[in-house]
Amino acid sequence: MTNEHGGIVVEGVARSFGSVQAVRDIDFEAPPGEVTALIGPNGSGKTTLLLMLASLLAPDSGTVRVAGFDPVTQPAEVRTRVGWMPDTLGVWDSLTVLEVLKTVGALYGMKAAECALRADELLVAVNLTEFGQQPARVLSRGQQQRLSLARALIHDPEVLLLDEPASGLDPGSRVELRSLLRTLAAEGKTVVVSSHVLSELDEIADRAVFVSRGESVKSQTLDEAGNQTRRYYVQAQPMAALAEALGRYGVRFEVRGDSRREEFLVQLGSTAEASWLLRTLVMGDVVVTAFAPAGGALEETYMSLDTDRR
């Protein structure tokens, strides 16, 4: 799946800060040409792992290979191939947007003309063209986020590491981020996205690695996630008829408590089972007004892991 010269392979990595074990044991693979989601609750070690991939932090143990190179012994090789977008925004306030991109490009050894060309392209790609000559401090949070993404892409990296890229973006920008990432993956780049906006990742990611308390607890492709047991919510008019019908077919349900609307949650093993239930209900003259998966496929996995929530 991951060849010698591309993608990311992490095996048994651990890293602690003093007495705090930020990462205990993470196995992680991100093949080229795919978007890999890194999912986990706050403080589960996502950022620490990304820092190790970006060659900023040395692991205490375990092996890391990024685009075929070891970030600890060959940091320069890794850095030319990796674009990293941190979760904290850092901007040089008084520099213009174009200057920020050109400065960083120059530090990747790009020629001035090459830099300028690439910077213009990226400003178009992240919709910041009209801000090119503006100082970075006038940008809103979402615009700075997009500038940060352009900055990470300036040297056309093979591997892209994005730490919470969607936070602060308006819905339109999220859609654009999604298509940009899909495009990059289609070009054969390795894209890693850490986030906890799971519905977002459902649509972007090809595969997901779940981390919890510094350990990788599960790794699955989105296709696998789609085929697992999922919960569906069902609404009908009136609900009593639905309850009676479900009872008749022996389908167990629970009343969903976290929603404003009154609805039932049912656990179904596959999409075939779901279509059977829907058809049966409709044929049985139950007025079904809503029938949909309760959450995204990844959310389903995330909730089923149940490791950090007690």
């Binding site: 820092l51 850095r79 850092g90 040089w92 400065t103 960083v104």
Partner: protein, 378 residues
């Protein structure tokens, strides 16, 4: 974002994984200078500096307008003040260079590029040095004014300015080094001020205290001219025909052998500058004045920095255990330079700055193995 971010060249950077030193340093330097030139703080500091130096200069011109060597004293004063204020300003310009970026979240962005820690520190240092040289440049009207009054030769002026620039470079290097070692900007600025104070004031204190360690009992011979008792009448007025005679006294006393401890002073920035400057010592009165006679100048009137230079030379010479009558009758004479002490001082300063920069370079080398408590990379 809907448009494709195609690379403009099929294979842009892959060729080299090393950034040429001058490119890297220039990029960091320009990055720093752009931010400084577009901020307001630097201009305010320059403005205040100009007003303060101008005020002191005009005040000093009024006070010492009548003395000999007016140009020399004024020039010396400007050099002394520029050094003094430079020592105050340079840490402010340099001591948050690196950890200020860390606080702003921009350090890690530089660290994931091909920029090496050494290149980063070199660029930051250059930028803060050039920033503080602007203060020197802004003092030039007063420097030229003093030079126009005469009494300062070109060599003295040139070396003074050169040494000022060198001292600013050293302080900036210390500041940048500390800013890379320490995590909090406030802490590093205070630490840099403490280090500068250690050099400027601490050396003096240690020197002063050390005199107690080098006390030695020595036979001191002092001679002076006086009228013989026989020629003085009841009122204490000497007889008109009386001749002065030389009286020599010897006594045992404890004197500090300052020649052993003068090196302590060498690391003082004021000493480094003063000791390096070749003051013109030739136009002063003939030492062979007849005893008791008063001459009509020119008197030897050293300025601030030259006084420091003379003090160091006197300290290097150690106690004079045999003062002759001729010496006692002479006017104050400038001491010629023995062994220059400034190379030692500058060496100590450069060693300190270099050690801090090396330590800072190690701290900035990524991937990081160890991190200080409570710090984040990004």
């Amino acid at each position: 974002m809907s448009t494709v971010a195609e690379p403009s060249t099929p294979n842009p950077v892959r060729t080299t994984a090393r950034l040429p030193f001058h490119t890297a340093v220039r990029t960091v330097f320009l990055l720093e200078m752009k931010q400084r030139l577009r901020g307001k703080a630097w201009y305010w500091m320059l403005g205040i500096w100009f007003v303060v130096i101008g005020f002191i200069f005009v005040l000093a011109t009024g006070v010492i307008g009548t003395t000999d060597n007016q140009g020399g004293i004024l020039f010396d004063l400007v050099v002394g003040f520029v050094l003094f204020f430079g020592l105050l300003v340079a840490p402010g310009l340099s001591a948050n260079a690196v950890n200020g970026d860390r606080a702003g979240g921009t350090l890690a962005i530089l660290q994931v590029t091909l920029l090496t820690p050494g290149q980063l520190l070199a660029g930051k240092w250059l930028a803060s040095w050039v920033g503080s040289l602007a203060f020197l440049l802004l003092s030039s009207p007063f420097i030229f004014w003093a030079l126009a009054l005469g009494g300062v030769d070109a060599r003295e002026a040139l070396v003074s300015l050169l040494m000022l620039a060198v001292e600013l470079a050293v302080v900036c290097a210390i500041g940048v080094g500390v800013s890379a070692v320490a995590y909090r900007p406030l802490f590093s600025i205070v630490s840099t001020y403490m280090l500068v104070a250690l050099l400027a004031i601490g050396t003096l204190i240690v020197y002063g205290l050390s005199t107690q360690l080098v006390m030695e009992e020595r036979t001191m011979t002092t001679s002076y001219y006086t009228y013989p008792d026989s020629s003085v009448d009841d009122m204490g007025v000497p007889d008109a025909n009386a001749e002065l005679e030389c009286v020599t006294q010897t006594n045992l006393s404890m004197v500090p052998r300052t020649e052993y401890i003068t090196w302590i002073l060498s690391a003082n920035p004021f000493v480094v500058v003063a000791d390096a400057v070749p003051y013109n010592l030739e136009d002063y009165p003939d030492p062979e004045v007849p005893p008791g006679a008063l001459t009509n100048g020119p008197y030897y009137t050293p300025g601030v920095m030259e006084t420091i230079s003379q003090g160091v030379r006197a300290s290097q010479a150690g106690p004079d255990d045999n003062q002759t009558c001729e010496e006692s009758a002479q006017l104050m004479q400038p001491l010629p330079q023995g062994t220059p002490i400034w190379p030692l001082g500058l060496g100590i300063q450069v060693l300190l700055a270099g050690a801090l920069l090396l330590l800072g370079r190690r701290k900035l080398t990524m991937p990081a193995k160890r991190l200080a408590q409570g710090t984040r990379i990004a």
